[in-house]
């Protein structure tokens, strides 16, 4: 049988194929990067004030809920009002230049504008309150913020990562009183029945339903 393509044509075809493959590869890489969100894991976002969780949580030992007040009752954990910051900072570091935006906000009544570090797509409906109620500690998703001078996103926040825990929550739950602790979980003989109860409350399939997070 005679050859269909001449050698020159074969080269052309190969080059064309390579071109298409290249574009697809670029596309895949860009989409993957884009899906990761504006702030890559491990990067510290640009913030109006270089707020340090390490200082406030690690050094001062302030409870998460002092600032994130609605974490137990709402889907949104809440960010502190300027007023909340000023409870201390009207006395402490009153003229630190890095706190100038805070003082401006308090004086002008204009809110601070923080950059979101943990940002989920708009079709994902995450609820803080239920995770807290079920014994998922802050540290499970947000990492050791008490060791972060600048807040970084530790987890990928990809669906697979969420599902990992939804499928096998056993290793990630802790007694209710330890939820806000940064230390590793201490499951005792006394607290384990409570954890079992929490696990039993929702059927396993429910935790993996699309409708649990998407609607």
């Amino acid at each position: 049988m005679a050859q269909i393509f001449r050698p020159g044509q074969i080269l052309g075809l190969k080059l064309a194929l390579l071109f298409v493959l290249g574009i697809v590869a670029i596309g895949v890489v860009t989409v993957y990067k884009a899906a990761g969100g504006p702030v890559a894991p491990g990067d510290a976002a640009q913030q109006p004030i270089p707020f340090s969780h390490k200082h406030h949580v690690g050094d001062d030992g302030i409870d998460c809920r002092y600032c994130h007040t609605s974490v137990e009752k709402s889907s949104f954990a809440g960010l502190p009002a300027t007023e909340t910051c000023m409870t201390c900072h009207s006395q402490l570091f009153t003229d630190a230049p890095m706190l100038a935006p805070l003082r401006d906000s308090a004086a002008s009544g204009k809110p601070l504008r923080w950059t979101r570090v943990h940002d989920l797509p708009d079709f994902v409906y995450f609820d803080h309150s239920i995770h807290i109620a079920k014994g998922v500690a802050c540290v499970e998703c947000h990492g050791r913020v008490d060791q972060m001078p600048l807040t970084r996103r530790g987890a990928s926040l990809e669906m697979q990562w969420c599902l990992g825990c939804h499928r096998h929550p056993e290793e990630h739950l802790r007694p209710r009183e330890d939820v806000f602790s940064m230390q590793p979980a201490r499951v005792t003989a006394a607290s384990s029945p409570e954890l079992l109860r929490l696990l039993a409350l929702v059927p396993e399939r429910r935790r993996e339903d699309c409708s649990t997070c998407h609607r």
Partner: protein, 945 residues
């Protein structure tokens, strides 16, 4: 009893079975046909864009500066307020998401609502956030500042004071606000020579004059349909029009269910000139032009007095009424003349209705004749006796009776100001236009159909710096205090003579409950006097009947896309009105649906497209008011002050041309299916009935067991009045976009729950049946089997969920859905540009993109909220804790939702009824949503058909 006849149909033009009936889907080929070069360009551009994907922008979080802990971000709050419409208010609970009003629910403690709403209350949030609302004061066409208007008004008032206000007139709609009433009085005190006028296009002048004839003073009836065994409705759509409609629907539906008590079901006779919801619910319906209804009433009167009517239905109805004395009720509609209203008062009195099935109260808002009031005003305007006119709401240039020539009269007024939400005809003709505040933006008060007062509290600061009618009148009355909150409080401080502490408690309770306790109007006992009544002889020519539109009312809501796209209950038309003609009348004129007719009455002529509507009275043309601005036909030019509801002896002839309608329910054929099952109550109680239920086939697969919740729904077709409140409530709750007339014509409407309308019997006098159809949530869902990407799947509670982020838009699922409840975003229907509409949306529901399928999901967001709240407390969701949006809005409580695994749930109780059946049950889809068959209570003495 023979099995139910399978003879349901939907339109007179329905293709006969077996014929090649193409639906309108096929009639619209793809209009986009690019050339080869265009195609290559587009292909290259999309490739380039795919490569240049960019990451989403970084999002910001802006916390409060000061916060007392409320509102908690992510937790909606509800505030009780009230929405006034046509001189009566419905109490509502408005949901506030971080300060943004996003949804209206009914207020369970309010007597006009009892937790339900009508379509207009549901559309109120779009009304508020509509980006086309007027945003600036104008003098003529010139944008001006608010201050400029008030200083011009102030200067004007200074001069008016010198002559006691002579030449000052204030025109309002029906006033149901005690505060506004007090302010109007204060204005007249300050300007003794000034006058106030009232104009409501959908007025109740005939009722007012009828009461005056009967009682010598104006009284309003408040009906108790829950106590009525026999109801005769004379051209009265008490389920959709007039004050109390939502409450009446609840009371009425309570007597239309099979609850096991013998004789519990009411019997309804409707004699009407156009199809109404009340007529569709009736056991016996007679379609007559208004003059015919008047004669029917006179015959009924004669029969009750002992004469013998030759109409068997009159005889039967009279016998029924007489046998149910004390439990009977006759309701007269606004189209009947005052004399007929007076006669109905006398008949009700003779039947012992007062104190039982109705109660008279002093009028809430309609205390005088609007037409007389407006006639006096326009007369003075034409005569040059008016030099300052303040128009508070309404749009009289558009909707005043044609013979009063309000527009011409307005041109003679040197200073006129129109307060309105939108810049409309009257705004353009007045010298000043002032943007008004929406009721969710100002403090006020309002009275319900029974007189109960509510405080109207704002949920948001005026979006565009609007002026409330109270603020405008305060400026006229020279009130020093401009604060709306204090003004309304003052009204109630004066009414509640009590100490400061008690008043604070009273005020807080009134705000929280949404009603002022014990403020219902006191019943008045009055005996009507006999007024001689002689009905007119039949009209020689056509009767043209003006009707309130089910969506835009008098035209007030003509700019509201949700309402425009809501199919009208009887015709299922969207974005249009039409000259509704009975099949026989259409044959006489030689027209069919889509043809044009010219209607001539007096000096006015209107060309309108014909819609052939089964059940319309022969010889009468019904045409809805409120159109002719961008869509539909304006019927107001035909409407004169002497004939507000019906023109007799009009000339109608065929005209050239065709009109394309967009309807949601004329597509395809019935194929002999029987979607609405029905039974007579007598047969049901005797156990002698057959719904013709199909026995589903045995499945090869084992039964799936649901361990946790198992959500399900039951829809009672006996209770459903077909009002569409569910459809629009779902639209508001689930961020459902509108698509426009052109797309509806292509069958691309997006409503997740639709209300199908079927006819049974003869086209001249059919029985109308309504059936709400949401997603059936099939156990064996045909849609799931064909989705190639698993974007529609069952969740562990049996809800058939649609996963938008997985959907690639093959539309296989929609194709395979036998109920046709899946909706596809053919284009980018959701408006992602307008800022104000972003604020309107429910933050708990995804805004869908082009190319994505969507459908009812039993309000997953509401289930999820309840689940999270109860699991935080470590308990199960109790029955009634999840209420879907359609269920919450339904005035008739026709929709029940709940957990099928809870043996004590209301939904299980409903589904245990022998009337329960599944739609298209023979397909073995095993829907979770099932129906209760429609029950009738026909009079055995009447031979139907």
């Amino acid at each position: 009893m023979p099995p139910v006849s399978r003879a349901l149909w939907r339109s007179v033009d329905e293709p006969a079975a077996g014929s090649d009936g193409h639906g309108p889907h096929d009639a619209h080929p793809l209009e986009f046909s690019p050339s080869r070069r265009d195609f290559m360009r587009l292909a290259a551009a999309s490739l380039a864009l795919a490569g240049a994907g960019c990451s989403p922008p970084a999002e910001e979080i802006t916390p409060y500066v000061k916060s007392d802990g409320e509102p908690v971000p992510g937790v909606p709050r509800y505030f009780a307020t009230a929405m006034s419409l046509g001189g009566a208010a419905i109490g509502v609970l408005a949901r506030s998401d971080m300060g943004r009003p996003t949804k209206i629910e009914g207020n369970p403690t309010h007597p006009s609502s009892l937790g339900a709403t009508d379509v207009w209350a549901q559309a109120a949030v779009l009304e508020l956030w509509d980006p086309r609302r007027s945003q600036t004061v104008r003098r003529g066409a010139l944008p001006m500042s608010r201050e400029a208007f008030f200083s011009a008004l102030g200067a004007r008032l200074e001069r008016l004071r010198a002559r006691g206000g002579e030449g000052l007139r204030v025109l309002t709609r029906y006033v149901d606000s005690p505060t506004l009433e007090a302010q109007l009085r204060a204005v007249l005190e300050r300007f003794p020579a000034a006058r106030r006028h009232v104009w409501e296009p959908l007025h109740r002048d005939n009722s007012v004059e009828g009461a005056r004839l009967a009682f010598g003073r104006v009284l309003e009836p408040v009906y108790r349909f829950d106590r009525a065994d026999v109801v005769v409705a004379l051209d009265a759509d008490f389920l959709r029009e007039g004050p109390g409609r939502v409450r009446y629907a609840r009371d009425f539906a309570a007597r239309r269910r099979a609850d096991g008590r013998a004789g519990a079901m009411s019997r309804v006779y409707a004699i009407e000139s156009r199809p109404t919801l009340a007529g569709a619910m009736a056991d016996h319906r007679v379609a007559l032009p208004v003059a015919g209804i008047e004669r029917w009433l006179a015959q009924l009167d004669g029969q009750l007095r002992g004469a013998e009517s030759d109409d068997p239905r009159v005889r039967a109805a009279a016998a029924d009424l007489a046998a149910s004395a004390g439990r009977a009720l006759i309701v007269a509609g606004e189209s009947l003349p005052p004399g007929a209203h007076a006669l109905v008062h006398a008949l009700n009195d003779a039947l012992g209705a007062p104190g039982q099935t109705l109660q008279y109260i002093a009028p809430v808002a309609a205390a005088e004749s609007c037409t007389a009031s407006l006639r006096e005003l326009t007369g003075d305007m034409h005569a040059g006796r008016v030099d300052t006119l303040l128009v508070l709401g309404g749009n009289p240039v558009y909707d005043a009776p044609a013979d009063l020539a309000f527009g011409d009269a307005l041109a003679r007024v040197p200073f006129s100001a129109h307060l309105a939400l939108r810049r409309d005809e009257t705004s353009a003709a007045a010298t000043w236009h002032v943007p008004a505040t929406h009721f969710l933006e100002h403090w006020s008060d309002a009275r319900a159909h029974d007189g109960t007062a509510s405080v109207v509290q704002p949920l948001i600061a005026p979006l565009y710096g609007g002026t409330s009618p109270h603020a405008l009148l305060a400026a006229v009355a020279g009130e020093p205090d401009a604060d709306g909150h204090r003004r309304v409080r003052r009204t109630w401080t004066l009414r509640q003579a009590q100490g400061e502490r008690e008043f604070e408690n009273f005020w807080r309770d009134s705000l929280r409950e949404g009603v002022v306790r014990g403020s219902a109007a006191a019943p008045v006992s009055a005996r009507p006097r006999g007024v001689p009544y002689s009905p007119p002889a039949g009209p020689a020519g056509w009767s043209v009947r003006f009707v309130e539109d089910a969506s835009v009312r008098d035209g007030e809501f003509a700019a509201n896309a949700w309402l425009q796209e809501l199919p009208r209950p009887d015709s299922k038309l969207t974005w249009d009105n039409a000259a509704l003609l009975a099949p026989g009348s259409a044959a006489v004129l030689g027209v069919r649906t889509g043809d044009l007719v010219e209607i001539e009455a007096g000096a006015a002529r209107v060309r309108a497209p014909v819609w052939v509507l089964p059940g319309q009275a022969e010889g009468a043309i019904a045409i809805a008011l409120g159109y002719g601005r961008g869509t539909g036909v304006d019927a107001y030019p035909l409407r004169a002050s002497g004939s507000p509801w019906e023109v007799r002896d009009a000339h109608v002839r065929r005209s050239d041309g065709r009109h394309a309608f967009a309807t949601t329910q004329e597509h395809a054929r019935m194929e002999g299916r029987d979607p609405v099952r029905r039974a007579a109550i007598a047969d049901f109680e005797a156990g002698d009935f057959d719904l013709g239920k199909e026995q589903p086939e045995e499945s090869l697969y084992p039964e799936w067991r649901y361990e946790g919740y198992r959500w399900g729904m039951a829809i009672d077709l006996g209770a459903c009045i077909g009002c569409n409140a569910c459809t629009i409530a779902c639209q508001a709750e689930n961020n459902i976009p509108t698509v426009g007339k052109d797309q509806v014509a292509r069958g691309r409407e997006m409503h997740w729950i639709r209300v199908d309308r079927y006819y049974e019997g003869d086209a001249a006098a059919p029985r109308t049946l309504f059936q709400p159809v949401p997603c059936m949530q099939c156990e064996n869902a045909p849609c799931e089997e064909v989705c190639p990407v698993g974007a529609t799947v069952h969740d562990s509670e049996g809800v058939n969920v649609q996963v938008y982020n997985r959907c690639v838009g093959t539309r296989f699922c929609s194709n395979n859905c036998p109920y046709k409840v899946r909706r596809f975003n053919f284009l980018q229907f959701a408006d992602r540009e307008s800022e104000s509409l972003k604020a309107m949306r429910n933050p708990e529901v995804t805004v869908r993109m082009r190319g994505v399928m969507e459908k009812c999901n039993y309000c997953l967001q509401r289930i999820t909220r309840a689940r999270i709240e109860t699991e935080r407390e470590g308990r199960r969701i109790a029955d009634g804790e999840v209420v879907t949006a359609c269920q919450a809005a339904c005035p008739a409580e026709a929709i029940v939702f709940g957990d099928l695994n809870d043996p004590k749930s209301r939904v299980i109780a409903a589904k245990r009824s022998p009337l329960e059946y599944a739609l298209l049950g023979e397909l073995n889809t095993r829907p979770r949503t099932t129906y209760l068959a429609r029950l009738f209570n026909p009079n055995p003495d009447i031979e139907e058909g």
